[in-house]
Amino acid sequence: MARLLQTTFLPSSPSLYIARKSSLPGHPRNGPRAAPIQSKIREIFMPALSSTMTEGKIVSWVKSEGDKLAKGESVVVVESDKADMDVETFYDGYLAAIMVEEGGVAAVGSAIALLAETEDEIAEAKSRAEDDSSSAPPGPPTAPAPAPAPAPQVETAASVAPVVRAAATVAAAVGSAVHPASEGGKRVVASPYAKKLAKELKVDLGMLVGSGPMGRIVAKDVEAAADVAADAASAATAGAAVAAPVAAPEKSSAIELGTVVPFTTMQGAVSRNMVESLSVPTFRVGYTITTDALDALYKKIKSKGVTMSALLAKATALALVKHPVINSSCRDGNSFTYNSSINIAVAVAIDGGLITPVLQDADKVDIYSLSRKWKELVDKARAKQLQPHEYNTGTFTLSNLGMFGVDRFDAILPPGTGAIMAVGASQPTVVGTKDGRIGMKNQMQVNVTADHRVIYGADLAQFLRTLAKIIEDPKDLTF
């Protein structure tokens, strides 16, 4: 009994501990080892801080799960009917599992956390905490915990987790995931408030790309990630219900006039990014490219699953190889960041939003693989299941509205990249040819928006000339 953790203020009778210990659920997984191990996992109880106190509220956990505790250290702050008090541990060990979260209320004498003696036992204590919390509210401690009960809970958590990560960086600037502050990803540089928020909102900082100075993760990155995560989680729930006969109501399907509809988190992220783009001095250069040869090629290899988007991405990537400056970006206002790979992000409209799946290493991957990859990404995007590296690693963006018959438009530069190209429809056009005749050619207009801090007019002009050459003589696209 002496091994059970007591708090300084714990007034409860020893019989309670006995009952508690004997009631420890004999978890099947533990097998015969269960008994000796259990004795090393101690419970932290809600102490009685005053004679009239029957229950206490957890004001805050001073320590978090996994933290090492030394005897006498305060672990939790409890609010009683009289005052707030720090509750200290009587034992060394690790805070394995928190069973009553901050803000939660627990009856005096009920377990609020588990303390493991060694690091190895943390996982076990955690599983026990789950059992405990699923079994019953702290009350009759003799009820054995039904082992299968927590299973569905765990599954839900598991299915949500990747979505959280996937969603984490929608709002983050499109750019390479490795920022200068992190020493090649070795450490995460996040501001104090960002760290606090991440802990609170349960966002994994390692999965975020910072938008702060020098690539630092700041609070808004975490907030955006959490927002999107929440959204994605609800989307996932909706996705899970696909089999159900009633389709989830789509926000876009019926717009009620005369109402104000708040942004979804993705729309909010877009909005923030758009406003942020105003801080970048951009300019635009347009070019008319003849696409007869490209169209012919497309017709030829369409049956092999090649898409126009992939062809355009490939052509752009090949042009970027020759003009690395167009693939660069300006992060801090003082330097060029030359990206090591050419990742073409292509804007895709999805329900109530916009996302930019990325064709990584588009210059190196052959056109067929690229096309397959593209299909896969679009499907994932529609299902809101893109992983962060699949939408936030673009170094150059393509936006194509040609399919709607738009002949020219102007794109806004996504923060963190150097240039974006707006592609219009390829249309039959009457042109004068070199031999002095008038002829029909399919032509499309492209319009590149670029950050003039790093990309100058002549750079863009040369890049466009190269691109035009590649598209007008597309043999290199198929290798």
């Binding site: 702050v77 104090p192 408030y193 606090k196 630092r216």
Partner: protein, 573 residues
């Protein structure tokens, strides 16, 4: 006012016997209120003037013209007494300590000069308590205006509050110059000679002063007080550029509000600046060499303060680490801070921040004082002194007629402590032995809410109790139970008293909560005057006021000692 003072004064003499500090409790106590002056800014002393006028010799009306006449009268008779000295008293350093000593010296009829090589007012007025209070006044209001939750609870609605950095910086600067001129005028008005230049001790009772390129003036004085103060301490390895790696000197100018600032050191200075910076929108990372934040505060108060001042704010911290190297930002690179484990000395982490504030304490400013001329060796820069602030030379002997007060002696690095020490010295040189009880000197940290303390912390008291074999009890009251605090919707706070249940002696009082810095004086006065809890618990506090927090604290103490108070005795009205 007058009657309440005389009431508390009266029992004092009768209590003198049991108190070990019978001397400060006895004769010189009329001067005690003066010693509680804060940075020479506040006019608490005015509150006591009615009392002091009855003691006839009074001349201290700060800035008052009428005082000047009286002084010159007293100067003329005192000016003739010194045999061959230029002055009775020369003070090196016109900070708050020197100022307090000078004022008291004149009051005592000494012909006084003060030497200042920089600006009058010293650290406190120019680069310390005064401008920082201006910034904290701003940060407190910002914090209030930003706290939607708090405002809503009061039924207030305020649209987004914002600030103008230059305006805030100007407020701090203007305050400093105003206080500086007040201080200068208060000395000039009563005839203190302000000598400009760096003071150096040439030998016993001999000082020279002068500026570079100007011939030195040599003056003699019967007694000399060193009050040269301190400068920010910057550990080695840290490169201060004044822009991105700064000390409090630079931070008070508020030339920028960085997005992310690391504060090295979580004592008073660091804590106050964290309050300012977070209110103005910065995020803060504390770097503390000890295992706990806010070392030096009573642990319980520290814990509560951390919960209120650190955890909910945009602050994180690294404890148990040294910043071995700090490189200022340049060429587009951020400020880089290298941390090592304080115990193992292993590299632990590297931080990249926008700015770093070095608040690792203060180092005495005693270079160039000519201490070698009188065979005094500083200890880590501090001038060694005895309990009467008399300077001790390398052989352990007292240097006659030489005193050192304030940060330069390192006893208690607080502006008002320096002033109190200065007054104590003047008492001695005018023939009244006086030993200052440092345990009665309050200290305050002006965060929101404030932290204040006087006397021993609980661990210190328990250690002392064990050594000396007495019992220690602790009483606590919460601001949550105080009507005024609740009316302000500022119920967060704790007052804690450590005392001897056998005698009712107050050993220490620690307050964390609204206006704690103002509340502490009831306790510090009680300690200074040796008032027992049994006496003070009968003193009446206006309702509803925050002072009732202390009232309740005194009343909740359980003292076995019989009541000896005249407060409880009938007094004819």
């Amino acid at each position: 006012m007058q009657s309440s003072f005389s009431l508390s004064f009266a029992p004092n003499s009768s209590l003198a016997a049991p108190s070990p500090r019978s001397r400060p409790g006895g004769e010189p106590s009329p001067s005690a209120p003066i010693s509680l002056r804060f940075c020479g800014l506040r006019r608490e002393a005015l509150g006591f003037t009615p009392l002091k006028q009855s003691t006839s010799r009074h001349v201290r009306v700060p800035g008052g013209r009428c005082g000047g006449g009286k002084v010159s009268a007293s100067l003329s008779d005192n000016g003739s007494t010194p045999k061959s000295f230029d002055y009775d008293l020369v003070i090196i350093g016109a900070g708050v300590g020197g100022h307090g000593a000078a004022l008291h010296a004149v009051e005592k009829g000494l012909k006084t000069a003060i030497i200042e090589g920089d600006v009058v007012g010293g650290t406190c007025v120019n680069r310390g308590c005064v401008p920082s209070k201006a910034l904290l006044a701003v940060s407190g209001r910002m914090r209030e205006l930003q706290s939607d939750h708090h405002l809503k609870a009061l039924g207030l609605q305020v649209a987004a509050a914002s600030y103008d950095r230059q305006g805030v910086a100007d407020h701090a600067n203007n305050l400093a110059s105003k206080i500086r001129s007040n201080l200068t005028n208060s000395m000039k008005a009563i005839g203190v000679d302000i000598l400009t230049g760096v003071g150096t001790i040439l030998g016993p009772q001999k000082v020279k002063y002068g500026k570079v390129g100007v011939t030195d003036n040599v003056i003699t004085a019967k007694d000399i007080i060193i009050a040269t103060g301190s400068v920010p301490f910057v550990p080695k390895g840290i490169e201060v550029d004044g822009k991105t790696v700064i000390t409090s000197d630079h931070a008070l100018k508020l030339e920028s509000v960085p997005d992310w600032i690391a504060i090295v050191g979580s004592g008073y200075i660091g804590l106050e600046f964290s309050d300012v910076y977070t209110a103005l929108g910065s995020e803060v990372t504390f770097i503390e060499a000890l295992d706990q934040l806010m070392p030096g505060f009573d642990p319980e108060i520290g814990k509560l303060a951390q919960r209120v001042l650190i955890n909910p704010r945009k602050i994180d911290y690294h404890t148990g680490v040294f910043a071995t190297k700090i490189t200022p930002a340049k060429d587009g690179k951020p400020v880089v801070i290298e941390l090592i484990d304080a115990k193992t000395k292993e590299p632990k982490d590297t931080l990249e921040v926008d700015a770093a504030l070095i608040a690792t304490g203060r180092a005495p400013f005693t270079k160039g004082l000519g201490l070698e001329n009188i065979k005094v060796e500083t200890q880590r820069g501090f001038v060694p002194v005895d309990e009467r602030m008399r300077v001790i030379d390398a052989n352990g002997n007292l240097v006659p007629h030489l005193y050192c007060i304030g940060d330069a002696n390192g006893k208690m690095m607080l502006a008002h402590a320096a002033s109190a020490q200065g007054i104590s010295v003047v008492e001695q040189v005018t023939g009244k032995d006086h030993v200052l009880n440092h345990l009665s000197i309050p200290a305050a940290c002006f965060t929101h809410p404030e932290i204040s303390m006087v006397g021993l912390t609980e661990p210190q008291a328990r250690e002392k109790a064990q050594k000396e074999g007495f019992e220690v009890s602790v009483a606590k009251t919460s601001f949550k139970a105080n009507t005024k605090a609740l009316a302000e919707n500022e119920g967060e706070g704790l007052a804690k008293m450590i005392y001897r249940p056998d005698s009712g002696e107050i050993l220490g009082v620690h307050i964390f909560g609204l206006h704690a810095a103002d509340l502490i004086h009831e306790a510090s006065n009680a300690i200074a005057l040796g008032t027992s809890i049994n006496d003070i618990k009968f003193a009446v506090h206006a309702h509803p006021t925050l002072s009732e927090v202390l009232d309740e604290l005194f009343k909740s103490a359980k003292v076995n000692h019989p009541v000896t108070s005249s407060v409880s005795e009938p007094v004819a009205v």
